[in-house]
Amino acid sequence: MSVAAITAEGLSKRYRIGELQAGYGTLRDSLARAARRVGHRQHHEKEHIWALEDVSFELGEGEVLGLIGRNGAGKSTLLRVLTRITAPTSGTATIRGRIGSLLEVGTGFHPELTGRENVFLNGAILGMRRREIARKYDDIVEFSGVSRFIDTPVKRYSSGMYVRLAFSVAAFLEPEILLVDEVLAVGDAEFQRRCLGRMEDMGESGRTVVFVSHNLQTIAQLCDRAILLDAGSVVMDGESADVVARYLQSGLGSGSVREWPDDETGPGDRVARLLAARVVEGDGTLAEAADVRRPIGVEITFRVLEGDTPVIPKIKVVDRQGDIAFNAMDTHDRWHGPTAPGVYRATAWIPGNLLNEGLTAIDVELVSLAAPKLLHHAQERSAVSFHVQDPGEGDSARGLFTGQVRGVVRPLLDWDAEGPS
């Protein structure tokens, strides 16, 4: 059956600018705004922005589509329109099949209720029938691995347990069409892998999936097809690897500085939080582009809040295809014992003549060793990025070659040679 599961035609969504910042107000604000409007009728149009503009696509049954684009590009708005949470300003979409949406893990979880009660509540909110939840209940609890605490109110759960239980309910949702916002960004790595596995199964079992993620690797891995959005419009629609590459090259991603000015809201947990990440040259100045021959530094500023855990800064270098070039953490013995509270700055120097040309994204992480795994306190995907450039002076691994050099890394090797003999 080749009938399209989702057909979107000219979907557009307009917001009033004020609405994006604070949707609600008091009656007084509205009266004041109305009074202003009477005086300045011509400003009326300027108060609107298009979060989504003329988005059209067709998605066949069983296709897995990734939506990418920087923050504010309209990915989430598109998902909210498709899930009927908000109505489009113009355009239509037809969806054939039972829809399941997952914009957040644990939607509607109530802290006072037990794990068991929340499974039923959350399941019903996500669109499952009572009978269906009852049938899957044992599997859900087993998948989550929190069965011992299933009759404890979830307010006493650790954040990891909470997320695992919430995700397990979602993982057993069996819609024909699944719309997923970036929900895999939570939870420990092992659990994320299991969830990704389940999502992959969904794709293979002929389920149609629309998936939003900042994690380009996940997109490239899970999706056959991707749509790149920018400023509410479709920039590119094609095979996911091509779209991911285009996204990384277009410079639409993050820049060379990322700052979280607020201690409270930066990535992290109660042990440590990220404050800033910067890409720097040898002299400490910011670098948008890096000379392939020279070292480049990734400077991580973070705050340790609790003094009883070792906190180790770590980076993950990701190339323009979304492949991991390498992982690296600071192995210096200063991080071996518990890290005293305070602000730290660590810089990882990536040697020259190592990375290949093109856009490189850096995931910044704060971890503790918990053999055989790492315990992540903070994890920011594509926190910063920079372009690696080769000026082509003949002294890099490129030599005098001017074409494309393939490979994740491009080290300058020592060659021994003999001859002619």
């Binding site: 969806i95 949406s101 509607g108």
Partner: protein, 301 residues
């Protein structure tokens, strides 16, 4: 096969087989048409029916949370009206000597208080139902009508607990209903529910936009019991005033309820009719406003 549609023009014929199929298709419609909000709101009873199970779960959640620490939950449900009844008895019954249709004042005022408390509780939780469930409204789709809808059911449990105390008072003061007339009490509770739901629909939708609502409600809740005849018998107010007061549906609820459960004088049915008409009007206006602003809730909340 049956193909349901959320379109304005659903298939006209749906035989029993089709209905069974629809029932089995686990509630979400097979074909969903997404399009800009229509100018005229529609009720879409079919969709509401499909979501009946979620309504039940939402009611269950609120009850569960409310009575989680069951002693405190139950104690408050009884203590609140009891305290007010004691104060009213002293101030209005003893000092001011308000008319109570010849029924002992404590049981008279307590009987008036419990439907009033039901209404007050349904209305105040209903008015904030959208804003207090903001995580649901912005993260998942379902007919938003379920949120204020659920709040009408939750305080019925308090009402039932109040009735237990009322029966005790009725026995103590020897005031009993006149036979099976007490069944009519349910009808008046229904009228209170309709009024509360209508007002909640309107207020909850306004509250999404203007957060003034929670400040305004307590003021009305202070004044309204006096205008609804909670501390006095409405039939002993001047005739002209009775008609003005009957514009408030709760007046009919309280006098009707007292007639049903305490054998108080029969309410003037003309006045009850006015109350019912006003309640229906409030409900329809609330429903229309709610449905027409519903597509924007997630954007403005």
């Amino acid at each position: 096969m049956a193909r349901l549609s959320t379109d304005l023009h659903p298939p006209a014929v749906a035989g029993p087989a089709a209905r069974e199929e629809a029932d089995r298709s686990d509630r979400v419609d097979r074909v969903t048409l997404i399009r800009p909000a229509t100018r005229w709101p529609r009720l879409d009873l079919r969709e509401l029916w499909a979501y009946r199970e979620l309504l039940g779960i939402l009611v269950w959640r609120d009850l569960k949370v409310r009575y989680k620490q069951s002693f405190v939950g139950i104690a408050w449900a009884i203590f609140q009206p009891a305290l007010i009844a004691v104060v009213y008895t002293i101030v209005f019954g003893r000092f001011a000597k308000f008319p109570s249709s010849g029924i002992d004042y404590p049981v008279f005022v307590f009987a008036g208080l419990i439907p009033w408390m039901y209404f007050s509780s349904a209305l105040s939780t209903g008015a904030s139902s959208l804003v207090s469930n903001v995580n649901l409204v912005t993260k998942v789709y379902f007919p938003r009508l379920l949120l204020p809808g659920a709040t009408v059911f939750v305080p019925l449990v308090d009402l039932a607990l109040g009735c237990v105390v009322l029966v005790f008072l009725m026995w103590h003061y020897d005031a009993f209903p006149d036979g099976v007339v007490f069944v009519a009490g349910a009808g008046f509770v229904l009228l209170a529910a309709l009024t509360a739901l209508g007002a909640s629909l309107w207020l909850s939708a306004v509250n999404v936009r203007y957060r003034d609502v929670p400040y305004a409600i307590p003021v009305f809740m202070q004044v309204l019991p006096l205008l609804s005849g909670v501390p006095f018998a409405i039939d002993q107010a001047p005739e002209k005033w009775q008609w003005i007061l009957s514009l408030n549906p709760m007046t009919a609820v309280i006098s009707g309820w007292r007639w049903a459960v305490l054998d108080a004088p029969e309410p003037q049915w003309g006045q009850v009719g006015v109350g019912v008409a006003v309640a229906v009007l409030i409900f329809l206006a609330g429903l229309t406003y709610f449905r027409s602003s519903e597509p924007r809730f997630a954007d403005t909340i």
